[in-house]
Amino acid sequence: MAIDFIDVVQAIIDGLLFGSTYALIGLGFTLIFGAMHKLNLAYAASAIAGAYVGLAVILMSGLPIVLTFVLGPVAGGFIGFGVYITCFRYMPATNMLAPLMASIGALFFIDEIIIHATAGSPLAFPAVMDDVFLEVGEYGFRGDLIFVLVTSLIAMLVLLYVLFGTRLGLATRAVSQQVVAAELCGIASHRTNATTFAITGVLGGLAGCMAAAAVGVISPLLTVPITVKGLIVTVIGGLGSIPGAIVAGFAVGGFENLFLLLFGVNQRDIYVFLLLFVFLVFRPNGLFGKAINRD
């Protein structure tokens, strides 16, 4: 089928809108890395698990469906805290590999719990403004993706406020820069890290809900691709960089859709990974990595 200019622009618009979920996931990865210098590979699985818990509570309690987008993040916060306790809190600080491996274990553990609880069956996930499709000339904008984008942007702004406008954010930044100095200043590093995990869990729960809402279906199949996309976003944005994760999330979403349109699904991921490779080789600190590097 011939590809015209409108197809290209529309693919980029759709990708950018969908990229907001990648940005949210990338933010979670980058926040935890920024705070602890460690990767939490169970993050995306926790995000999807949060969305599942939110949906389950709504279905069982008969509460208004829109509350899924509140309960999912709350559940994500608890799961994030649980992942911190089991995979990071008691792991030896000198062994960098231990929490990484533990979080990989947690990824598959959470994934299997979801699979066993749902028999792997996809479930319909509520979407807000699902029946809205805004048309501007030749271009179309999905209402539910606009909702996802706006919600994600609000969440990012709240997160930035928490990090740069509150004492908790100050403590988080202090621990991320120099743990010993922060503790000497009276900051409880473990409590701060646990809070960071809970906050990123809330963000993850929201991201899980947004990703499921964007598809309209939730399935355990979401965990691995979102983990991979989240990691790509984190690396391209710059490990530990919040603006980097946001920009890279949108960029990866846009490029991914463009590659899909131009090269087809079988080559799409080749080009996405090529993009990652280019960054790793030519700009290993990512888009904004240098600016926020720790001392």
């Binding site: 693919a11 792997g120 996809p122 479930l123 319909a124 309209g216 691709p225 859709n257």
Partner: protein, 423 residues
């Protein structure tokens, strides 16, 4: 202490007596093995298949068990393993069951990709001493991808014949909807069954019955099975099984302006794609799906978006036997569908074969009994399926199962046509 001894002595004596006589009274059992996905994203396949297998085994035992060569009756027992719809795991389970268990035959592994890989480790030709492959009979429950049982003479299938199903489906569509002329579609390219059936069977069947590809003729597609399959994929708008964004594909579908859309994928992406089409207001006159999607999962995930979709399937609760199996599957925590219902038929086939060939069912006769069962399966010409008689294709280990066309209506799969009525 004396009182304690007085109490314990009879108890110990009773326990010892019980231990001595219990082997004599123990019922003889015939072991079979089942395997499918009990973990991983396709776990629903295993849950459903085991639920049906459990019900079938109980049915056999409630009716007295299986007759052995010496005229005695044995109870049927099964062990269900997790092969996760994963090729390596399926091979590992097959090797373990064949070499370490007393199972006489296996049922599984449901997924075509796992089956195709697993069948490769079985002895290709019976009696070939130079081939050290597994000598263990397998009767797969589903694994629909065309032609798999030919891989080994130890492997048999009780699966529908998709080329025939889609041939009849498009013949019926052409007759029932004479105004529909054009077709467009897509598939999960990373899934053997979805991809193979779409690019080698469905598009060719549509061509054979006079439908035109909406974006212009596909080079090499003549209507013959498998013709131009590579070009079919490049002319379609495809996705992967774990994809989450279908906007580009849905736009291509809409742009094709086709009368008929074909969505050849498993439930998760079928739902994702259908929902995206609905959002984009892409409204075909007819939707056609893959056999694997005629399941409860699609109804759980996207009943509204799937409304009107037509799929050929080898299972629907249209006979008393099929209704009973559907009910029993639910009681055991699963759903009877195209994939899982075959497990019921397989257990009944195994009972029929064991009773016809006569087995000794001793540890010493295990290999001979497995061979007898294999030979018995090969000799079968016809079996009784849940919705009708199943013809066996003897040299190929394949089956020709009856099937019907179902359509998504009000959150349920409803039978809209039975091709046997017009044959």
């Amino acid at each position: 202490m004396t009182n304690l001894k007085r109490i314990l002595k009879p108890a110990v004596a009773a326990a010892a007596l019980s231990a001595m006589i219990s082997p004599a009274l123990a019922e003889e059992t015939v072991h079979i093995a089942g395997w499918g996905a009990k973990s991983g994203p396709l776990r629903s396949f295993g849950v459903n298949s085991e639920a049906v297998l459990k019900a079938a085994v109980k049915e056999v035992n409630d009716s007295g068990g299986i007759m052995l060569a010496d005229g005695t009756k044995a109870k049927l027992e099964y062990t269900y393993y997790d092969s996760a719809c994963n090729a390596e795991q399926a091979i590992s389970v097959a090797r373990k069951v064949a070499s370490e268990s007393s199972a006489l035959i296996g049922i599984g592994p449901t997924c075509s990709g796992a089956a195709a890989a697993m069948f490769g480790v079985f002895q290709k030709t019976v009696g070939d001493d130079t081939d050290t492959g597994l000598q263990f009979p397998i009767l797969t429950d589903t694994a629909v991808r065309n032609g798999l049982a030919k891989i080994s003479q130890w492997t048999f299938r009780n699966t529908p014949n998709e080329p025939d199903m889609y041939d009849k489906l498009f013949a019926w569509v052409a007759k029932t909807y004479p105004d529909l002329k054009t077709i467009y579609g897509g598939t999960e390219t990373d899934q053997g069954h979805s991809n193979g059936t779409y690019s080698k069977v469905i598009v060719q069947a549509s061509k054979r019955h006079g439908f035109d590809w909406a974006t212009g003729d596909i080079e090499g597609v003549t209507g013959d099975l498998g013709s131009g399959s590579a070009e079919v994929l490049t002319s379609s708008s495809n996705w992967l099984m774990a994809d989450t964004n279908f906007s580009v594909q849905a736009r291509a579908f809409k742009k094709s302006n086709a009368d008929i859309y074909v969505i050849s994928s498993h439930p998760f992406t079928t739902c994702g794609m259908l929902k995206e089409l609905k959002r984009r207001r892409a409204e075909p006159k007819l939707l056609i799906g893959l056999t694997s999607s005629s399941s409860a999962e699609v109804m759980k995930g996207c009943a509204e978006a799937a409304e009107g979709m037509i799929i050929p399937t080898s299972f629907a609760p249209i006979t008393p036997a099929a209704e009973k199996v559907a009910m029993l599957a639910n009681e055991n925590g699963g759903d009877a569908d195209l994939h899982s219902a075959a497990a019921w038929e397989n257990v009944m086939i195994i009972k029929q074969v064991i009773e016809s060939v006569g087995i000794d069912n001793t540890p010493e006769s295990l290999m001979a009994d497995r061979r007898k069962i294999r030979d018995g399966l090969e000799m079968l010409e016809q079996t009784q399926g849940l919705i009708g008689e199943v013809q066996r294709v003897q040299d190929e280990g394949e089956a020709l199962k009856p099937y019907v066309f179902v359509q998504a209506m009000n959150g349920m799969w409803t039978v809209i046509h039975d091709p046997r009525a017009t044959n």
